[in-house]
Amino acid sequence: MLAVFAAGALGALLLRKHDAAANIWGNCMAIIGSGAGLLISGAALFHGTVPAFSVDSSLPLLAFSIRIDQLSAFFMLVISLVAFFCSIYALDYVRHYYGKYSIGMLGFFYNAFIASMIIVVTAQNALFFLVAWEVMALASYFLVIYERRETASIRAGSLYFIMTHAGTAFIMIAFLLMYRATGSFEFADFRDGMAAASPLVKNAIFISALIGFGVKAGVIPLHVWLPSAHPAAPSHVSALMSGVMIKTGIYMMVRIYLDILPGSYLWWGLALMIAGSISSLLGVLYALSEHDLKKLLAYHSIENVGIILLGLGSALVFSSFGMTSLAALGLAAALFHTMNHATFKALLFLGAGSVIAATHTRNIEKYGGLIRLMPQTAFFFLIGSMAISALPPLNGFFSEWLTFQALFQGVAGFDVVTKVIFILSIGSLALTGGLAAACFVKAFGITFLARPRSEQAERARETGMLPRVAMAALSLLIAGLGLFSGLVLRTLAKVTGSMANLRGVESADVAQFKSVSLQNGFGEVSMPALFIGIIVASAVVAAAVAVLTRKRRTETGPTWDCGSDLTPRMEITATGFSRSLITISRGVLRPSSDTEIEYHDASRYFPRTGTVTMGLHDIYQTFIYKPLHDLTTMLAAQVTKVQSGNINVYILYIFLTLIGLLFFMDLQS
């Protein structure tokens, strides 16, 4: 399977000259590769076979060992699934890059990106993992700066690369600490070696892993690169990146916290939950204030990562109290939400991609009325928005429902501090759900409904056949996941069972009529019943109303406009829509709005034009990253004085070191 990706990558590189062939070759290879990935992970997940092979490399400590246990199979399934659809989408979408940039490079990096992600989730040797991790970062870096001519994507790319590399530094520290405790870089040795490690080392590993993988997953204080990097990449790549690449961070957190480190401490789970709730709340608030469609979706990835962290945090808290069945529930909730988020986020990004390709701009204010011009894309985008705002019939609701149940169990049991944190996280989860719904009403409403606000929007036309096929498949997948959530939960139980700390525990059983009941009947829902209920009810109502009013005619007329001629400018704009919510949370977001009024040259009292620019200055930039940057530059300036240019001073350095060392030697002996 990796060979297929390698062939795809090299093929695309060789066919650099003529674009069409490179595009088709690259993406077909990606499709075949991800298809193979699907088969392998499916087999591993359902039949419990654990394919593993290990090639010892000539370099010491580095072994190319791959082992697909349940957890890796699950994540591999998610990755190949999303990659499969994105590649189908890409076959047509890449066509509008033909003239401008080299398609061969895109194919090369795209295949390398997917292959490295699959290796990341299956590698068993820490060094091999780090190599794959960096190759993934490298490939995604080149994909982010694919549109070389815009300086914005270059800056976003370098910010992204610096942040990921900082994250890798932390991850390397974590692995080195583990190496110190166990003496080898194999995950298997980590597992049994870590039991002996002292609590201090375990806490240090926890913190460094949290920061390292937090950067990749986009936890709030470390998320700065995400909103600028994802939109810069081509749409099918940003779908892959925010749908799946973020999950590799989550994968490793699960692998280390639940599988490798033996027991977990209470404060670990609580820290994760606090980080999760903050990320979700702030993520959605930032998304609300965003006008760039892809940036909005990127912020939503942060919000959903927050929700996943909530699930994971609760699992950690439960496992620290030894309640393995509840921990399995929390983990299942987190994993299920990972899968759901991957699917609907990918769908939304692909939808956004087609919209942007059609209108050539990313600013929501310019859209409008696209539902008539691009009906299918609008429908798929609607499905995606409903799923992400966790509305009942779809899968988003079920995973959020599971997370809620996990948190409910948490509230019941513990001491005051944990109980307060659980309650606050439930509150934040509910609030995030509501705000997400508000944000997507804004996104969907302003993009697709009412009249086009700019001539680009008018000229938009439906995207090609392939993108629609990909999006249709993804929407079917979302609906399917929603309906058969009971089945999915059972497979997840196997995955959670495979974790070292939660050996073989059943968290939920599926009662008759597919209703999933949890924890001695505390929470119970049957998604299919819900789905059928809504469909039947609306059919009955529609039939009744049709019978009642068969004689009545319906014609269309202009919208009521209290007399004035209705121009698109009068429609609600994205800023208008979210302004109310932003003013409410001005304490957190600190919105800035400055107005410039241009007066007539005659007198100061008759303004000719007034412009109000509303912005949101990024508090992280000013409070965390700017001081860091200034500190390093100041230090660098000081150190550069060492190279003063005067030769006598240089010889003085040598002289002083000589004398110093002689004294030092004397002290030491």
């Binding site: 550069t640 190279q643 003063s644 240019g645 005067n646 030769i647 006598n648 010889i651 003085l652 002289f655 000589l658 004398i659 002689l662 004294f663 004397d666």
Partner: protein, 218 residues
Amino acid sequence: MAYLNQQALLVFATIIFAPAVFLHLTNKNTSAVRLYMVQSSAIAALLILSSFDRFSPLIAIAIVATVAVKIFIAPYFFYGLIKRHQLTFSVSTYLNTPLSLLVIAALLALTQSEFFDALAVLSTSGEKLLRLAFATILISLFLSINRKGALSQMLGILSLENGIVAFALFAGLEQSPGLQLGITFNILIWVIIATVFASMIFRRFGSLDVTAMKKLKG
């Protein structure tokens, strides 16, 4: 070296040590070169004395070569340089004379102190000689730090080399003649290149003052 008594050796050692100190004080290039000639002639004398017991043609050649290079060829180049560019007065120093004298005294005290009693291991008899030679090394190193003139820096390095050879002779480490020949040949090439560079610097910067060269910063 055994049959030479302590007294004579001590005299030679001071002859080598004194120029290093005076180099700090003189401000005329010509007198600096003359001091260097005095120092190298002391070294040459020591060499001749030490090679009496195992005389062989090769050693003779080696000695002749060192004498030629250190006493005749190097000063000839330096005088040429001084005459061509009328550099009678060498450029000022960083620390004025009393301060540099203070530093020299400190260095001297350092070498005599107990830090370097390990040197005594080398040769029980000439322990004071070794300390003196070590002092010359440190002081000539300080010379190239203190002086701004390119010529005095070169002289600092050459007197450092003389100090090392003196130390070797006192510690009874005479090299095999082949090596000595290699070393002197090396010094010769070094002197030639250094003088060529000095004249190029003079042509480029107008004076032999090293501090003019400040451009390569950071």
